[in-house]
Symmetry: C2
Subunit: 191 residues, 2 copies
């Protein structure tokens, strides 16, 4: 028998992981077009053809490199007034610790598959959370989109465009400014 248990560690797992890590970094730093398979392979110390073997093509590689769990905290059990601050703080952390978010942002702007991924991530992972705290559940998608617009806008200014005042602003100050905005988008009566 040559069959193995499906979860058995294969020798190539390390290579696959190295490719994925290099891909995430390149996509985050350069966007879709400029993140070439050759550059990713060089970073991972392997041959470009390995990327094709394990991920099919560049689209497949991006799909694999852009899976992400936002880990949005459950807001139901929180003191109502702190929802905005908790959410903003959480996203700042996520953005600074996980290249995938910057990659998603950089790629989504010029690549259709990337944009679709971005839409799906926020709809599936932020939408339900919003539904749990906003007054009328039917409004959840709209409110989640408003929150996303502010979160993504700050991420864009701070981590991608690197607008000087947005970069130098201390983390606490960003939270202090954005928290009431997010709080209002989620919980306020429709204006």
């Amino acid at each position: 028998m040559t069959t193995k248990a499906p979860g058995a560690p294969r020798r190539s797992d390390a290579t696959k992981a190295a490719i994925l890590e290099a891909a995430r970094e390149r996509f985050a730093a350069d966007g879709y077009e400029r993140a070439t398979i050759r550059a990713i392979a060089r970073d991972a110390n392997i041959d470009p053809s390995m990327v094709m073997r394990y991920y099919g093509n560049k689209e497949g590689l991006f799909a694999a490199a852009s899976v992400i769990d936002l880990r949005v905290p459950e807001l139901g059990a929180l003191p109502g007034k702190h929802i905005g601050a908790v959410l903003v703080a959480h996203f700042l952390d996520r953005w600074e610790q996980d290249d995938v978010l910057t990659g998603l942002l950089r790629v989504g702007v010029t690549n259709d598959a990337g944009a679709e991924r971005m839409r799906a991530v926020f709809a599936e992972q932020l939408g339900p959370i919003a539904a749990g705290v906003c007054p009328v559940p039917a409004e959840a998608p709209r409110r989640a989109a408003l929150v996303a617009s502010q979160i993504l806008g700050m991420a864009l200014a701070r981590y991608v465009l690197r607008v000087a005042p947005a970069v130098s602003m201390p983390r606490d100050e960003v939270i202090a400014w954005l928290a009431p905005t997010v709080q209002r988008y989620l919980t306020a009566e429709q204006p």
Copy 2:
């Protein structure tokens, strides 16, 4: 004498303008890398080498195609309470009528020159306006960056990523939601 008045209309002006228009559309639709000189030339019904003759290289073409005047209205003479709404409405109009803004956004995310241009445009054209209405003029850059984060974030969601709820939201509703945010970023006491 072969010299002419500097403002004399040359026969090539129409060509230059056609190139510029095609370039703006392509940059806005595709970003920097995918907006190829060949595609732009095809749109303008001329030979790719003409682009080089008149704009030097691709960087020069982008520089020429990305000059923009935000036409931010003077807010000093306005009823204080409406500053946010006027500003948000103005930017929505600008974004829908001028491809350059979408182009700047799409290019700035993956191209350094584009990011620099975006930073400069907002610092030079939004900064002074903010300085005129915020309580402490020294805080103007930070407040302008906050406003930019929300404006850019909504533009990203609505016109670039095309997040469904952000696209379908009526213009008036976008204004109603974002106006208080922008208003607060500009005029509220530091939190």
